[in-house]
């Protein structure tokens, strides 16, 4: 099976495949830390076989959830020592983290917009016990 890969077009990974032995040539490394969490969540939350479990799972809107998680992950990865809620504390504690703050600011804005949208539009999925298990529909 292939080595896991994640690369972007600005960094063609051509050389990476020639060495075998995980030779990603430093150009096609799997994104570090939480960068691929969005990809993972997109799949595990929203894809896969959806079948009724015994306990109702009612998750938030998936985009909203994923962004909120990203906030946590960005913070955990880059500001572990400050705890995962550091951005909620005194802003002076987080000075010198401009880039991260900016990103988090963007994320928070998006969260606010999504939460407002949710008020108007009820949660859209994953009320599992209310759903006919899909495999049964196929019979």
């Amino acid at each position: 099976m292939n080595e896991p890969v994640r690369w972007t077009g600005s960094m063609p990974p051509t050389q990476g495949r020639q060495g075998g032995q995980g030779g990603q040539g430093g150009q096609a490394a799997r994104a570090p830390g939480g960068t691929d969490l969005a990809d993972i969540l997109e799949r595990v939350l929203d894809k896969g076989i959806v079948i009724a479990g015994d306990i109702q799972i009612n998750l938030l809107d998936i985009e909203l959830l994923t962004i909120k998680l990203r906030l946590v992950v960005a913070s955990v990865d880059k500001a572990k020592e400050m705890g995962i809620d550091w951005w909620e504390r005194d802003p002076t504690l987080s000075s010198g983290r401009g880039e991260l703050e900016e990103e988090n600011e963007r994320l928070r804005e998006r969260v606010a917009a999504l939460e407002q949208a949710q008020v108007r539009r009820p949660a859209r999925r994953r009320t599992k016990t209310e759903r006919t298990p899909e495999p049964e529909e196929e019979r």
Binding site: M1, K47, I55, E63, V73, E109, E138, R139
Partner: protein
């Protein structure tokens, strides 16, 4: 304790080798029935019973997602795997056996479809600067500023439209190499962490023998085209397990 179901296979002989175990570090077990094996572990009932309280505990949820993914990937490395959606839990192993019996056909259909294949993801983004080309030097007046701003927006729209057209072509070309393909909604900028707009978020079910061709194609398009492409994979076939379609 209740039973968390990660994935179903049909030729699993032992639990997958996942160093950190399952959700909450729980030991993985196989529950077999009717020629199928479910990969499960015990989890705390309380944690899953009231997810309304827990769903804001994002660090916990992220760790569940990673654990779930880790197990599914480990199974998929050596076997055909039917991944379950996150947080599918049953009261006990007997209930899992019942599900394997009741949904035998559906699981088998998924396993047939994904056997010997992997999921690959291709994302396309507007190339940085494509929309900014029109932004000139500092405007001399308010009117000039507004004019420049309007032009920039127009140029941006055109750049996005061009990128979308090119992305369609990439999607078609990759789809031609794939057994099946799905288009997921492009992710929001706040999710990708990139300032450029995503114009394609495709998932492709690819025969292992064709994986190199897909890589080569994406590399080639990336080199010669004018959008940024991102290839991820191989993934367990989440997008082709007949989930929330």
């Amino acid at each position: 304790m209740i039973t968390y179901l990660y994935a179903v296979g049909r030729d699993l002989e032992r639990v997958p080798d996942v160093g950190s175990g399952g959700v909450g570090g729980g030991a993985l077990r196989l529950v077999g029935e009717a020629g199928l094996q479910a990969v499960v572990s015990d989890v705390d009932r309380e944690a899953f019973e009231d997810l309304d309280a827990h769903r804001e505990d994002l660090a916990w949820l992220a760790s569940v997602a990673r654990a779930h993914h880790g197990v599914v990937e480990a199974v998929g490395r050596a076997h055909a795997v039917a991944p379950l959606a996150l947080a599918t839990v049953y009261l006990d192993d007997d209930r899992v056996r019942a599900v394997l019996r009741e949904s035998h056909e559906a699981f088998t259909a998924v396993l047939d479809r994904v056997d010997g294949r992997d999921e690959w993801g291709v994302k396309a983004y507007v190339r940085p600067g494509a929309a900014r080309a029109a932004a000139g030097e500092r405007p001399s007046s308010g009117a000039a500023y507004l004019r420049a701003r309007r032009d920039a927006l127009r140029a941006g729209d055109a750049a996005v439209a061009d990128a979308e057209r090119e992305a369609e072509a990439v999607d078609a070309a990759v789809s031609a190499l794939a057994v099946e393909s799905r288009r997921h909604p492009p992710q929001d900028r706040s999710l990708t962490g990139r300032t450029e707009q995503m114009v394609l978020n495709g998932a492709y079910l690819v025969d292992r023998s064709a994986a190199a061709e897909v890589r080569a194609l994406v590399e080639e398009r990336s080199r010669t085209g004018s959008i940024d492409l991102e290839l991820t994979g191989p993934w367990a076939p989440y997008s082709f397990a007949g989930g929330a379609a």
